[in-house]
Symmetry: D2
Subunit: 422 residues, 4 copies
């Protein structure tokens, strides 16, 4: 297995350097496809793997600008859709032996952060930090890509011994929970007996496999903009209508909302941009907001209150508002707890150190795929892959012990073995 393990690390370090945010994983997608084609596989990508309704797409201008930086030299496949934001891909590897239909999902996008310049940061030390100072794989999806590709490699190498069919899904735009719904709507999770997914880190201890993650928070993502009236801040302040203060007031009001005794709830105004000049009453502002809840009642209640704050604050500051939903994910709670127990038991038998039902405490739009498979009669499981973190997820100093990649690949392979024998 050593060659796979080494490749995992090499792949991870390569993909970390080309970190791209959601729907802009153009280079990332191209490089994944190139690798899969190198393995001799047929890859589905572009329009056919997405529904019409991709949420939270960047502007045409941003996509086009980003597209210009993508290296498309010497490609023997059509990337025009990829450069329009139809990122991600799906590969199907079918054995000739009858068996179960397995689905695996790996997310591939990065975050809009400036990776730390700290020279002690391993990616800096070893020279594999993000080449783009505005993007950072601060959630570990670089490792996810590596494990997905490593799994493909192993399956291809062992396909004759294996039975059944294997679908590996490389999903874009997990941050902001935008890609999962789109791919699921386009059928990514249809026709599967098993759906398997995972996340590295998330407070799981190094070497431990969390089995059957719980606590997927349902979430909605909103963009809120205010439009006021600009004016000279010295000569005519009374003629202005201040969109910056509207946004500031709304941000504070929104953050007073998430106290629920019936479950977990979260709100975050993650981005606020307002105003164009120091001596101008700001006429425009823009915010990125998200709500989360451990169930739909909480999420819907919170989201309704977001709308009230958005509208009321517009009224208070005499400005116009525009609120739109740009992403969403459902929560997920398995309907087959006994399947989770079974898997944990079997993994224990195989020598894994397991942790039953770890708590995710966040949102993941793989929930759409996990739920879809269960709805169609299959079984779903989500693993947490333990590792040592240098800093929390989404922090600019985030990094992890690469041994988790080996742990992940081993877990996926063992899962195939266990379920093939079931």
């Amino acid at each position: 297995m050593e060659k796979y393990y080494e490749e995992l690390i090499a792949l991870r370090r390569n993909f970390r350097q080309i970190a791209e945010v959601g729907w802009l994983e153009m280079q990332t997608t191209i490089n994944i496809i190139k690798y899969l084609k190198m393995l001799g596989l047929d890859v589905k990508y572009g329009r056919e793997i997405h529904s019409a309704d991709r949420m939270g797409l960047p502007s045409e201008e941003v996509m086009s600008e980003h597209g210009k930086k993508v290296n498309t030299d010497n490609l023997n496949f059509d990337v025009s859709d990829i450069l329009k934001g139809y990122t991600g891909c799906i590969v199907e590897i079918n054995s000739s032996n009858p068996g179960k239909n397995f689905g695996f999902r790996f997310d591939i996008d990065a975050l809009p952060l400036h990776e730390t310049d700290d020279p002690e940061h391993i990616p800096n030390k070893l020279g594999f930090r993000s080449k783009d100072n505005s993007t950072d794989h601060a959630c570990g999806h670089d490792g996810h890509i590596a494990m997905g590709l490593g799994l493909c490699h192993w399956i291809v190498d062992n396909i004759e011994k294996l039975s059944g069919n294997f679908r590996i899904i490389f999903q874009p735009a997990e941050e902001g929970v935008r890609g999962g719904k789109s791919m699921t709507a386009a059928g990514a999770a249809d026709g599967l007996d098993y759906m398997i997914a995972s996340h590295i880190g998330m407070n799981e201890k190094i070497g431990v496999v969390g089995v059957g993650s719980t606590g997927f928070l349902a979430t909605s993502k909103f963009d809120l903009s205010y439009e006021g009236v600009t004016a000279h801040a010295g000569a005519n302040p009374q003629d202005g209508r201040n969109a910056l203060l509207a946004a500031a007031s709304a941000a504070l009001s929104l953050h007073t909302l998430p106290q629920y005794s019936t479950g977990s709830s979260r709100i975050n105004v993650g981005v606020l941009n307002a105003g164009t000049g120091r001596n101008i009453v700001p006429g425009e502002s823009y915010m990125q907001i998200e709500t989360r809840g451990s169930d739909e009642l909480i999420l819907n209640d919170l989201s309704k209150r977001v709308e009230q704050v958005a509208r009321g604050t517009a009224e208070s500051f005499d400005v116009k508002y525009n609120l739109s939903k740009v992403g969403e994910a459902i929560n997920f709670e398995t309907i087959h707890p006994e399947f989770i127990d079974y898997m944990a038991e079997k993994l224990d038998e195989k020598g894994f150190t397991t942790h039953l039902r770890p708590n995710l405490g966040g949102s993941e739009d793989v929930s759409y795929m996990l739920k879809r498979v269960e709805e169609l009669g299959g079984y779903s499981i989500h693993y947490m892959l333990g590792t040592t973190l240098k800093a929390p997820h989404h922090n600019v100093a985030f990094d992890y012990d690469e041994s988790v990649l080996k742990l992940g690949l081993d877990t996926y392979i063992s899962t195939i073995e266990i379920l093939s024998d079931k």
Copy 2:
């Protein structure tokens, strides 16, 4: 005079299209110099016209990026300093007849606004809107440049009939009051008998010349940034320290401050940018702030309170702060009111419709030059040139009746005549 009037309009429309903000007036400066050289004049520019302390300079990166867009083809002069933000220029035109030393100052920068897309907006209709959607001559400095160049043209044509010397100053970075102090410190206003400046619009009625503007507000410009701690907003919100909420709270608190019974006061948070991603507790925020006061006591008191809010809010939200002053202008009240009365009387005699001592109600860093000339024994005057405005200053729909350019040139010429005869 008709040829000058027509040229004023042509010039104004040309400069409006290349609108550039403070310290980035690179193309603007180059085009001004080219015009002046065409008149056969010797121009001072670059390092020699500025002091070491240019406040509120854009980052090297921004300057360098902007510089790449500047057209420097076929130039027979060195623009390297201009591309480093040493913008603006000074021209001296000396007659061979003994006489007074006149100084004229014209500001040349634009505002960071997206000029309205309204098809009825004259610059859109006639095709001379800003080519850059992030900059807009929404304060009329395009007209100021045109009047300055038109004045040079007229002086050159009439130099044999004129006596004394004429210094015409094209000042950068008036918005944010950054260039005036720097040029004055470098001697721009030294050695003058008279200092003359003006602003178009400002509520003066069309055709009217306001004589001896009052109400120059002293002002300070601050940049305030907060540094918190990023964290995953779903999984670990408690690990974050929210720099966005700190900024929002500070913005509101700051805007509660400016109530003074002893004079005019203003505060504006003109820009607020915070956060990098929707699902990340925002770890950084940045604000552009300005304070104004009709006297130094008010300004200093307000500025002290800005500092308290900056520091206190950092403490409240457990984040670090950095507050720096990036611009300032003094207020100006002439010590020679009788000179203003004299000029108004003489302009009346020449057939102008005048308005004595109009109120500026804003800040203008020409105050440094006006005051400097008086301190050295000379006389200073500021005119308000009336015109019809389509929208207030600093509004994206700002535009003016171009007849004001003719009024301005006439006023400058008459001023030279009056003072040469005095």
Copy 3:
């Protein structure tokens, strides 16, 4: 004159001890009437001196509670209306000689403050502080009452030498500008040739008489209440609708409004009370708000924005709101500036140190009476009576040099003399 001067001080010290706030000046009114009756005068009071529309009345309960503390022993007049908040009184003293009709107005209410406990505070040292720790004559109306009564005493003593008629108006509820409109509507200022009023302090230097005060700010007073839903803050926070946070947010938003370049403007949220218990989501809140403007345009614009903030914030926090106007005063600018000049000149001749057109910088509902007299063809004047202040008006340590009482009485007597001779 010495006996009058001494009496002024004694009266002032007496009335300071029984400080009562607007519409509750029951003991104050009774004591004024008793003094006037002692002089043998006939006094009008109760319902006949007020219109039906007294703004900003305390609740029946508060009036009734306060009424219980009033000493009504041994009175030979009916106080039932006074105990219902029909406070203040008017006395007419007619000479038998034909002449002008003079009106004088003195306001009589105190402020809801706890007078300082500082032992160095003169009223503490000399034992004449307010006996009620919730009320304080921190605006000097105790002195106004004393001057009004002293003036009555002097007129009575000199009635045979005087000509014309004298109406002295003791007006309640000037704080919050509630009594002036009501008394004017009931005719208090009708039928007068001259209206004279004054205020002590207000930055006028000791010994100086400000003649023809300007800068009366128009003002509106609002009560704003929010009604949300209470809930257990630990067990069911999501069921609450927080009226305290609505009020807090509204207070901040309101204080961001008053920046006008066209004149003076003010806003103040003077009182905020919200919530009933620490562990209860607050279901109710209440605020006292005032707006001011140097002209009606500013005042009306500000007041409209108050309404927007009130309504918008209710929407934001999902609570109900109730906004009502409880007081108002117009601004006043004399239409007879030459009359002011005349009075100043005559007072100068009589040896007064005068200050022409001092700036009030606040609101005063005597504006209704001043304007009414001018509208009916008469003349109005307002004096500022200089004195040394220990602390600003409305501060708990407010106190003044009592020599101002003598200055005031002298000014009133001289005014009568000047105008009788005119």
Copy 4:
């Protein structure tokens, strides 16, 4: 048993009418003692049942004012300490048969709410609403008192058949968690084998007994006051330092804090009072705040952040602050889960409908007593007594189905029987 059941309802309705808030349960305590003495019991009360450190005591003035309204006619015991806020009492009923030492705790205080005036509200319909419009038994402690007294009555009637000793604790000031720590420190829970407590309502269904409540949130209670500078809001706003805006800003900032993924957290600013007059810049403000956490780490972190907000906001608004802790309760998680299981099983056998380990989701300072007994080697249990609620706890329309009183008494008696046999 019918006579006890009827008495429970009569008692509950009596105590509801004399609702008194924490440390002011003077009439309530006196009436409890009278009832207990009527049963022939010896009662401990006053100073001997409290430690020196009673947190969150009302001011001497408030206690003294309230004391004046207490009916102390015809009492044969000393109430002087009770009138100083040493409220509550303890009774010990010892059987002559050897056995276990049982402790029972009942809380007796009401909330500062105006009980709804809705005529459909049962206490209004049947005439037993709180006679004081500022207090309301909106948490059901009236029923707790009734059950405590009913239990005493039953024990006295059955003492010969019973074995062991019974201590019944009537605790004041549970709201605000102030009395539990004080009584526990004075030994109330020492020397007991079993500690039993309960709460009615709390989402438990009618007829159901929740056994072994979990989710006691640790909590801290803070008073925060700001002291600024008053000034005339029209004439000298710049001289004021606004304590109202400081409080408003702090309230909003505080409510943005409680997002923790490691457990439950809460914050509430329950009361905010600021300012004295509409036209005065507010110089003082006062807030009642509470924090809660499912564990001490969360509570301490939140409490530390409260301190930062308190201090930082003072700095921002240039005012002084004073923050003091006035109440606290620890969380409680039993160390004997098997005891809870045992009790639930036995109660099931006796025909009760039970609900294992219901979630309290709030704070309760009986946690001090429950923990103390376990620390000294005994066993503790907390019941939730199901009933139908008309409105949530702490809502002004709160009321419950009185059948819960019978359920409660039955549960207590059965608990004695089960544990006596153990």
